[in-house]
């Protein structure tokens, strides 16, 4: 039975939610005052640098640090031996993999893998020290490509890590097999009038946040440590570093800096445990900042993939069956997001017969990190490309076919559950009605359509709200503000309390101030932290109503909160003039002490979110270069708290997707080294590559949130790979099946089609 309760928010008239106030951290960010990861310093601070493997795969026979240690100005040199815990002490596979990734153990597993680190009085001294560390490598054969890594004779990264789902006889690089679906796909294909099967490949891309990883660590001999870092989750950093260094969580205080982008890439640790280990050994604060080269070689990109899709359709556009097999390499450790690719790739369709199989594979590349809707864009790209080709072959309208087969409220999703209230058809109808869909196209131009889906997520959340004596409010939350979330929290607190936005100030608290907070991921913040903020405000309101009841000498239940005031509930409750929040706050000392509300929760009930994207592209038949001419995003936000930042999420996700579709890729040489570790050759979209990105916000309230909010940050990167590929294929007159669609590839496809 699908959840069918009416959203609490339905019919509610908002005063602040839905407006566009200026963000509270805005002035600091336009004046250069805001402090990001690399902007902090401490007295007596050292500079920490990491020595990285130049080999894609090598056994480490020994590391000589004596010469580096002897250099004047070097205060500490560490290798894996300096981490208190040996891997045998850690029984959590994930934590052990993080440790192996942060500092190599017996083998370097990719070009850029950390093998040692130094702390010295200056960067030049630290650089000289790195050159004096002697690592004895035995170079091993390596494997980069996902399909190569799955072959039985491929070089093996780890023996014995494959789990029980992997059939015997496969390469030891295959870690896990997933399968989802229902019905009988073979019977479904037999009913189809047309069946198309295609193979696709997508390159690994990087989140490309402009701020490199950075941190500043200090630790005293008593084990008390402080860490400042740019992260999507300082509570995660605290827990992970405490685990890796054998510290008590209470002794490690982590403060999140302002964060210069993350997109999933800052949901794990790289430098932080190393900086702490160097600080412990040297007894001095240690600052570490990655170079861009290090960010690209050694922090997590997303998976590269190889995907087969087969879909059957009747002449009237009804899809009879869908099948997909997805192979994702996740770098040197298990945990590629292939399950999310397999779960989500058919989510937009109500299918009787569907099967998706996913393979998690390791290869000699950096450990993948989450990237915005991890795993979903590639799966959607492959499925939406085949749906597009079927429409073309049968001469059917692309939006009509999607509407005919679309998932609706109560549809049994391909990944198992039934959907509750969802907004997919609303996005499709909006796209159909939009002038973009019927605008004329010129020669060499094509239009692409694609849908996308993401689950969204809730998780551990703590919020504390303090009512000050002057009637202002301080809100503490534990999630770094990656794109305007302080504004959204301030708005929701002000809305619920019934006071002006300017009276609330929201702070991102350090790890000693609040209980556990899940990282800023899964598009969870506006949903989960917003939920906790509203609940914390309601708790404070309960206190304030009780205070008013005392003052009036009436029952607590006889007081209601309306428009920022406590009021007697009705004529029977008594005749008292309403008391404002400020009036109640001013009397706090006389009525029972400080007034606060707090809420701690593992938020559940995140609502899934769908989007439909429309894009026009032009292909230059002489060079293969693609120009994006027009782009429109239609996405369900549930309720847009601050519409400008919702639009910003839509636009940013779309453009990252355009980069993934057209330019971005990890390029490896035959030696297994990354060939393009810089922004010149790893080219993300620039302003002159793009048109304006139009947005249409659809609001189908999420019943799981008091205001109807759904996460919006991730879904927007799911459709663009397919939408752009469909547009380019239409413009070029030939189906493209590999990303990125860089000019040489487009030209080769055009030439091949010409014969």
């Amino acid at each position: 039975m699908a959840r069918d309760d009416k959203p609490e928010a339905e019919g509610r008239v908002f005063k602040i939610v839905g407006t566009r106030p200026i963000r509270p951290d805005g002035i600091d960010k336009v004046t250069g005052r805001a402090r990001f990861g690399a902007d902090m310093s401490a007295p007596g601070m050292l500079v920490g640098l990491v020595l990285r493997s130049p080999h894609a795969h090598a056994r480490i026979r020994g590391i000589g640090t004596a010469r580096a240690e002897a250099l004047t100005g070097v205060k500490a040199v560490i290798t894996r031996a300096d981490f208190a815990l040996d891997s045998g002490d850690i029984d959590d596979d994930d934590l052990r993999d993080i440790l192996h990734n942060v500092m190599a153990h017996d083998k370097a597993l990719y070009d850029g893998h950390a093998v040692a680190a130094v702390a010295a009085v200056s960067a030049p001294v630290a650089r000289r020290a790195l050159a004096l560390i002697e690592v004895d490598y035995e170079v091993l054969p390596h494997v980069i490509d996902v399909d190569e890594a799955m072959k039985p004779d491929a070089p093996v990264l780890h023996q014995g890590r494959s789990d029980e789902t992997v059939p015997a006889g496969m390469s030891a690089n295959v870690m896990h097999r997933f399968e989802f679906g229902h019905g009988d796909v073979e019977a479904g294909f037999a009913e189809a009038d047309v069946v198309i099967e295609r193979s696709f490949r997508t390159a690994a891309t990087h989140q490309g946040y402009i701020e490199p990883h950075a941190c500043l660590a200090s630790m005293g001999p008593d084990g008390q440590a402080d860490l400042w870092c740019c992260t999507q989750g300082h509570y995660m950093v605290r827990n992970t570093c405490a685990g890796l260094l054998g510290l008590d969580a209470s002794q490690l205080k982590v403060t999140a800096s302002e964060i210069g982008g993350g997109f999933g890439g800052k949901t794990t640790v790289f430098l932080e445990p190393v900086a702490l280990a160097l600080a412990r050994k040297s007894g001095r604060p240690v600052k570490m900042v990655m170079s861009r080269d290090e960010v690209l070689r050694a922090s997590g990109p997303t998976s590269s993939t190889s995907i087969d899709v087969k879909i059957g359709m009747k002449r009237d556009g009804a899809i009879t069956a869908g099948w997909a097999e997805l192979r994702y390499q996740g770098g040197a450790f298990p945990g590629s997001p292939v399950q999310f690719g397999a779960m989500s790739c058919f989510a937009a369709y109500d299918l009787k017969n569907v099967q998706a199989i996913g393979w998690d594979v390791v290869a000699n590349r950096p450990k993948q990190a989450a990237y915005r809707a991890p795993g979903a864009p590639m799966g959607a790209y492959a499925v939406e490309s085949v749906v597009d080709e079927l429409c073309e072959k049968l001469g059917l309208d692309r939006l009509e076919v999607r509407l005919k087969n679309a998932s609706r409220d109560g549809t049994k999703a391909a990944y198992g559950p039934r959907f509750g209230r969802i907004g997919l058809t609303a996005t499709l109808e909006a796209a159909k009605a939009h002038p973009h869909y019927t605008a004329p196209l010129g020669p060499n131009q094509g239009r692409g359509v694609a849908c996308g889906f993401w689950f969204n997520f809730g998780g551990d959340t703590c919020v504390t709200l303090n009512v000050n004596a002057d009637g202002t409010v301080g809100l503490s939350e534990g999630n770094p503000d990656i794109g305007g979330s302080r504004a959204a929290m301030t708005m929701m607190a002000a809305e619920e309390l019934g006071i002006p936005y300017e009276r609330v100030r929201t702070t991102i608290a350090d790890t000693s101030a609040l209980g556990q907070n899940e990282v800023t991921d899964g598009s969870r913040v506006t949903f989960a932290v917003g939920l906790a903020t509203i609940k914390a405000a309601r708790a404070a309101i309960t206190v304030m109503c009780a205070r008013a009841a005392k003052i009036w000498g009436i029952d607590e239940d006889a007081v209601v909160w309306e428009d920022g005031h406590a009021k007697p509930a009705g004529p029977n409750a008594g005749q008292f003039p309403p008391m404002s929040l400020a009036e109640i706050a001013a009397l706090y000392a006389n009525t029972g002490g400080p007034i606060a509300g707090h809420h701690e929760v593992t938020a559940e009930g995140a609502g899934v979110s769908f989007a439909t994207h429309l894009v026009d592209a032009e292909v230059d038949p002489e060079t293969g270069a693609v120009t994006i001419l027009r782009y429109t995003v239609f996405q369900d936000a549930g309720k847009a708290v601050h519409p400008a930042y919702v639009e910003g999420q839509f636009q940013g996700g779309a453009v990252q997707g355009i980069g993934w579709a057209l330019n971005e890729e990890y390029i490896y040489g035959a030696d297994g080294r990354l060939q393009n570790p810089g922004f010149l050759d790893y080219r993300i979209p620039v302003a002159s590559d793009l048109p304006m990105i139009d947005t249409v916000i659809i609001e189908v309230a999420n019943p799981g949130h008091p205001y109807g909010v759904r996460g919006v940050g991730e879904t927007s990167i799911v459709p663009p790979l397919a939408a752009v590929a469909n547009a380019v294929s239409a413009a070029a007159g030939v189906r493209l099946t590999q990303l990125p669609m860089s000019p040489p590839k487009v030209l080769a496809a055009i030439d091949a089609a010409r014969g």
Binding site: M1, F178, I357, A370, Y371, G416, R524, E604
Partner: protein
């Protein structure tokens, strides 16, 4: 009895069945009974699962009630970026 839908690759542990029945009043009991009745599922439960109960995703909340007529679907642990 609560009917629990199992995703494809776990069906090896349930003798190929896409749905199994367990006696459970809450999420914790549901996971415990599943692992007892189908030991092959235990490694995945240890690695992490999400459980969809009547359309809402739960990860850790042991005492979330499950009714005999609840629609329950087991999924790999859902995270994000």
């Amino acid at each position: 009895m609560v009917r629990v839908a199992i995703w494809g690759s776990l069906r090896a542990a349930t003798g190929g069945r896409a749905e199994v029945e367990v006696e459970a009043g809450n999420l914790r009991e549901l996971l415990d009974r599943l692992a007892e009745a189908h030991p092959g599922i235990r490694p995945q439960i240890d690695r992490g699962v999400s459980v969809v109960i009547d359309g809402l995703v739960y990860n850790d909340s042991w005492f979330t009630p499950v009714r005999p007529d609840s629609e329950v679907v087991l999924l790999p642990r859902i995270v994000g970026g």
